[in-house]
Symmetry: C2
Subunit: 792 residues, 2 copies
């Protein structure tokens, strides 16, 4: 939970190292704030070392006398003057286990909420961390990471000693890597090392305010003398008679706070004046309240501005990113491992030219995908591009060329322009015009869209009243002799190999064969490739296609039961796994489940963990060879400026290795177990969503059908209208957007009530988690959905 109050201006104080004067300068800030007539809160979340030497005691000792209203406290106190994680261990026997990061952050957030409620006047709060920026918190997590959910504006106390330039800059960079807003750097004056002089220039170039404060007097052995001397020191640096350097810092912090508030308030208007959003009808945007201002994001939560915030409540509040930011999020927002992967690739390469060149991030990624990823068993080549749409354009160019080459001289140029795609109704492969032309005409259309091909109406899988149904389209029903087939279980539906000999499989085969023959007879398009989104068609409305149908379709166009050959036959087969691939629906790729491999496949979205655009088109050797010659003009003349950019590739490598770890995680194993077959054997499919929840919502009258695979949950609602422009799902569930105010601590970081940002596709509402979303969070989303559905 990021936190921001109008009346209560909060800063966290980080040190560039231990013993750099963090407590002294924070004390000075508290005094200066009090002097300006503010109520002041000082919070030391963790204190280690003897009580009479504790920072909050120091603050109290040197401020209460001067203060109008000061509250200094400490939440967790340990005796040993060591790093908090060790202090906990040393004290452990008597104290039980240390608080988790979540408990710790929630405790702070609670204090902050209490402060915000308790003060009616403009107030300041300073939260003083322990040691350096990366000093371990109680659980052992680095403080810079541990405090990140609160996303508090930051003051960095620099180091004025020898070596302090380095530690100050490194600490600053570590804070930047976590996205913190750094409002000020403060450090002591030192005439010999002159760190302040150097750092003043350094930070000025970066637009960061820096204040150099006189160093404190030496500690005196006689307590009263020491107190007097220290008191005099504080007086000297905060007195409004003198230059009042600390007071000027407080003024600066105030102006930062005001600017941030003004900026957030101005953003909706400015957005409406300058931005053209993707997929948005601006004519339906009513005004500023329709703009979601995302101030920051962390884990599965956006931190969004709350237009109706009272002065006691935070202006920003958490909102669950229920579409996984257009199906991209993999390990949550602002994951430090991905940030560092991006940074180290940037630091080593930037972006470098790719044709006839290679760099490690691209090579490692290509090999991982081909040898031990979605290309395993069939692919020999990786071609990089920038997004799913360009990845599909590349795939189409490959398939069309491979097909044309086999036709030898039988195709005229004009015929090549009209080669057709075989696919399914509801397909979507991206918004560039070539990718659109592989789909039938529909809502996602534009002037040049020229649908080339033939698309089957596919049978789909859904759950209603706890039963798994295969809904058969009308055109197919005469073959299957039914509009709907009840399946014994989800695991049965996805046991494709086991269903190949069923009557339904024969019906599918007959239907497909007849339709293709009829197409030929009526002089339909010359088909050159089969293009499928395996298992789920996302943008088409979260349609869970019967996998048996797709398997039979592939077998039919190939004219053979797929064997071990990776030479394409019949038509080249493209799997568009941009949405379903890389564990989004619980499996790395769909080939093993379907029992057939594609000739070409495309991955994007999850590939880069939800951070930057990158796509890869994988192909078999047989497709690659269609372009081989000694004529440059016959090469695949496709490329983008940033092809295989090092940052994208390195982030992808990091993402894939994080997913490998997740595959063995307790959350995944537990979820897989919950979806096991009735005999306890593993099911070919599973979900992070609870099977009992799916069953329960499928029984509600408002729900037409529910379905889930992996991290995806789709709810088709009852209602008169269907299709992309329907508002029925949005209308039914719109109260999810608003934070529930039941007073319970939520599962969002910081425990604040949260709304759910979700997307609909007409009459389908869908919800998507990251691959590492905890079961606690998912259960709480399920509860919210359940409550909302039941209250409508």
């Amino acid at each position: 939970m990021s936190t921001l109050f109008k009346r209560l201006r909060i800063h966290q104080v980080f040190g560039a190292n231990t013993n750099v004067g963090k407590t002294i300068l924070t004390t000075a800030l508290v005094r200066a704030s009090a002097q300006k007539g503010k109520n002041v809160f000082y919070l030391k979340p963790v204190s280690t070392g003897p009580m009479d030497d504790a920072d909050d005691y120091h603050v109290n000792r040197y401020t209460t006398k001067h203060a109008r209203w000061i509250d200094a406290e400490c939440l967790f106190r340990y005796d040993e003057p060591v790093s908090p994680h060790l202090a906990v261990q040393m004290q452990k026997s008597g104290e039980g286990t240390p608080p988790s990061d979540e408990t710790f952050v929630n405790s702070i957030a609670n204090r902050i909420r209490t402060y915000a409620r308790s003060t009616l006047d403009p107030s300041h709060m300073y939260l003083e961390t322990a040691g350096g920026v990366h000093s371990p918190s109680l659980s052992g997590t680095s403080q810079a990471d541990c405090y990140r959910p609160l996303f508090l504006p930051t003051i960095l106390i620099g180091d004025s000693k020898l070596g302090g330039i380095s530690s100050t800059i490194s600490s600053y960079e570590s804070l930047l890597l976590r996205g913190y807003i750094i409002d000020a750097v403060m450090l002591f004056h030192d005439d010999y090392y002159k760190n302040g002089e150097y750092l003043k220039k350094y930070f000025a170039e970066r637009g960061v305010f820096l204040a150099i404060v006189d160093a404190p007097p030496p500690k005196l052995s006689e307590p009263w003398e020491d107190f007097t001397s220290t008191e005099k020191y504080y007086e000297s640096i905060t007195s409004s008679d003198g230059p009042n350097i600390v007071g000027s810092v407080v003024d600066h912090l105030d102006s930062c706070h005001v600017k941030r508030l003004e900026e957030l308030e101005s953003m909706p208007r400015r957005t409406l004046d300058s931005i053209w959003w993707p997929f948005v009808q601006h004519g339906l945007v009513k005004g500023e309240k329709d703009v979601t201002v995302i101030d920051s994001a962390y884990s599965d939560f956006f931190s969004v501005t709350n237009k109706d915030a009272s002065s006691e409540s935070s202006i920003v509040s958490p909102q669950y990113d229920g579409s996984a930011s257009w199906w991209t999020q993999t390990v949550g927002h602002a994951h430090p491992s991905l940030t560092l992967a991006a940074a180290r690739a940037s630091g080593r390469y930037g972006h470098v030219m790719f044709p006839q060149a290679i760099h490690l991030p691209a090579l490692n990624l290509a090999e991982r995908l081909i040898q031990n990823g979605p290309g395993k068993g069939w692919a020999s080549r990786a071609f990089f591009s920038d997004n799913g749409s360009t990845g599909m354009e590349v795939a189409l160019k490959m398939a069309l060329r491979a097909f044309s080459i086999r036709q030898k001289d039988h195709l005229k140029n004009e015929e090549k322009k009209e080669l057709g795609i075989l696919g399914l109704k509801g397909s979507y492969h991206g918004d560039t015009i070539g990718a659109m032309d592989a789909c039938e005409e529909g809502v996602y259309t534009c002037e040049w869209h020229n649908a080339k091909g033939y698309w089957f109406d596919p049978p789909t899988v859904g759950i209603k009243d706890g039963e798994v149904n295969i809904t058969v389209p009308a055109s197919l029903a005469s073959f299957s002799q039914s509009n709907s087939v009840q399946a014994e279980s989800l695991s049965w539906v996805y046991d494709v190999e086991g269903r190949l000999q069923t009557p339904l499989a024969r019906a599918y085969a007959l239907y497909i064969t007849r339709a293709l023959e009829a197409l030929k007879q009526r002089g339909g398009p010359k088909l050159a490739a089969l293009v499928l989104e395996p298992l789920v068609m996302g943008a088409g409305g979260m349609l869970f296609v019967d996998p048996l149908f797709q398997r039979v379709l592939v077998d039919t166009v190939r004219g053979r039961r797929s064997g071990s050959s990776t030479k394409w036959s019949g038509l080249p087969v493209i799997f568009d796994e941009v949405f379903v691939g890389l564990h989004r629906i619980g499996m790395e790729s769909t080939g093993p489940l379907l029992g057939v491999y594609p000739d070409i496949s495309v991955n994007a979205k999850v590939l880069t963990g939800g951070l930057v655009p990158l796509a890869v088109t994988l192909t078999s050797q047989s497709i690659f060879e269609a372009f081989l010659s000694d004529n440059k003009a016959e090469a695949l003349l496709h490329g983008h400026s940033y092809t295989a950019h090092a940052i994208g590739c390195e982030v992808a490598n990091e993402t894939l290795s994080l997913i490998d770890k997740l595959s063995a995680s307790e959350d995944w194993l537990a979820a897989q177990a919950s979806w096991a077959k009735s005999d306890g054997q593993p099911s070919p499919v599973w979900s992070l969503w609870d099977p009992n929840f799916i069953t329960a919502i499928s029984k509600l009258p408002q729900v037409k059908e529910a379905m889930t695979l992996g991290s995806v949950l789709a709810i088709k609602v009852q209602g008169a209208s269907a299709g992309y422009t329907s508002q029925s799902a949005q209308t039914l569930l719109q109260s999810l957007n608003i934070a529930s105010q039941d007073g319970q601590l939520s599962s969002a970081p910081g425990g604040a009530a949260f709304g759910i940002h979700f997307r609909t596709l007409g009459d389908v509402a869908y919800f998507m988690t990251s691959l590492n979303t905890t079961s606690t969070v998912i259960r709480s989303i399920e509860d919210r959905i359940w409550t909302t559905l039941n209250s409508t």
Copy 2:
């Protein structure tokens, strides 16, 4: 110059802070290396403080006795025990100015080259830095940045004291941000703070080797006793009898070195087995020698492996990135400001959902582009996508819709699919099929490519024998009454307003009008938009189009001399500024020079400084309004998963502000002055390339024509063949690829000889600098080109 030798294994030693035991542990490494029979070089580039306390003295004192062959030296020595940048200042009066970063790095590189030549046996070298990772070097630049050109594998000495966990991790992160390979972390054992215990786990999770070494004994006051005690300590941690922890570090470093060599050697083969390159005919790739292995990149130079390196010379050597990595590089590779911009956006947001949402990086970028960038004066909206090609697809969708709407009900659906584009022959707008369809058929083709429109053969500008010529195509010559018009100067050619009343302008207008009438009469395509790459058509062969022709064309299709209205008239006009925009050719956008603004424009490439993909399509309000309605299906239904990703937007903001600074730089002002008119007045165009150099090469018989604008230099060579598949330019200039071995220090960082990586477009060789490439580097490239042209 990144450096890597087979026989000489080099590591640089960075400290997490000052006084963490850097010298002691480096001394131990030197001893352990010597004990393993290696020749050892120890280099302390800068030493501050009294001579008898200097690190190299310490190393000598405690190693020579044991060493087979040790050479310890210091390059720059200063008396004051302060940070090097201060030590220099304190000593300045007597010593002259401190060495520049370049001189400093070159001195080190020279020492390294000398070492490499001087040893025939496997050897180790340790370079000990001063203070912490970001301690200032002599010039004041942080060491982590200053040493980056050498790209040496790194040992980080951690901090075992209180607070040391934080400073160790922050230092590690600062090194990662510069892309350094960190082979090992070493730190002292401390039983109380136990930093080693924490850090061992931390670095193990990140795959980094960490060694904990016993701490040294306290310093004794009696010199001989101190020596004996220290000597005994070194003996204890390096003795091959005991656990020999330092020896095991040396073994680990050796294995890192061997692995890196093996990895680099294996990369070409592995690449040929897994990668499908863009725009490469793999059938023409002869084998491993055709793979450029880029080990790292810095500034304008790749560091590439040198297959023919002798054991005395570096396996990696600099290669000038002569195509600016496909026209993207703006401030050079691995620029720390861009890395940090990427990192802070990742840390604050990751990527967040864009429709109906906003985040600061996207909003700031949109406003900057519209209000104070290429959209100034005409654009009201920014639409983000991922690359130039998608940006152009968006532009085309906008223009086609705007045109269709004005036609009201007069256009049938089938007609909409065939709406045509008016453009120039040689146009190129990207590789997605929609963008291709806006260009005539040519070499960049694919099965579905269906050129829709009409393209004029344009007059072009070039320099031959020192004279500026406008070459008029045959179809136009009957109007202009000449095939070639000699211009008085380049500045005259680009004074578009001044040329509007010339006979040539009238000839252009007549030619265009007649051609469009003829097109209409013969039932040609219904034209719906004018699409231009203003001033230079890049991929089409670096064609410098006569700007007057483009101006007249825009005026003609608009049916009016452009006034101040931003309402589109005649046909919507799209400027594809993906290549030419944002100062690539010396101006932010081309509208001011042409005297007309587009209705839609596209930027990419330079936009993100050469780091990550991002594109923006800017539009006028009049285009935006064509999509406004209360029907969602009529919106611009285009978007990519990572639309307006925060990293891209923040990097773009940083890039634009770096360019703003460059605009006022001495290098730019000097270059602009060199291109001033003969009367000293500023010219409307300028170049970073030297006018005298252009004149000189234009006089060579091998050169058909030369031309330059901004950072771009194009040389059309004489030869029988022309067009994209011609090899003539490549053949003529191929020796540029190889480093010149004239023994002179080069302008590449580290002073190593460098080759030039350049790209050709058939008979045109082009060379492109970053926007911050120094004049020294450009002059040296010019020299190389001149020498090469003259030797052929």
